[in-house]
Symmetry: C2
């Protein structure tokens, strides 16, 4: 049975990635590059993953701090960068700020590179 | 008929992306973040796409220059960055250097974000 989940990643990129299929225009590249740049940092990549995989898909700084040997202000700064480019939503409840991954933003990056939406 | 290519990108990221499914470790994030950082720039993102979609999957600076209002040294610098992180192979033939996308490197980024290889 044919199922694209059985394709290897290399085959998927080779056949389906918009990035590989035809030249990207500046209009396509410009809005996505800040999102990609924001996760081109190991701490931010891990923060995004930690938030996404946390219970109910959201987390506050206090939930995230134990995973890093970093101060809370440093973690808050990285969360702010991810929020500003549109990869994280933030909601204030009581004294805490909760972050959730904007999956459609992450999906647009994934679709560009891996072709999931094409 | 079930076919994952019919999934939307959001569904694919939500169900399959390793980034979303469980917290990434530093060991997973560290080797990929330089590759992601390198394409977090609209010129480099477009260069990667231009090279990949060029005839025979390879291109020299002279093939790429017309797409940008940038000098040849600037384009060469961006190509060097993409080569140094392992996203482009380079081969010298005669007086020209030809670049080709290392699809397995691009695939490893796509797989992390979009889950194609999981």
């Amino acid at each position: 049975m044919s199922n694209s989940l059985t394709l290897t990643a290399v085959e998927t990129v080779a056949c389906c990635s918009p990035l590989v299929r035809e030249p990207l225009s500046a209009e396509q590249a410009d809005p996505l590059s800040p999102l990609i740049k924001a996760i081109g940092d190991p701490v931010r990549l891990r923060l995004l993953s930690l938030v996404a995989s946390h219970a109910d898909g959201e987390a506050c700084v206090c939930d995230l701090q134990d995973a890093f040997e970093l101060s809370q202000p440093t973690i808050s700064h990285h969360l702010k960068v991810l929020h500003e480019v549109g990869l994280l939503d933030r909601t204030k409840r009581g004294v805490s700020v909760y972050y959730a991954v904007r999956r459609e933003a992450l999906a647009s990056v994934a679709a560009l590179l891996g072709g999931a939406a094409s």
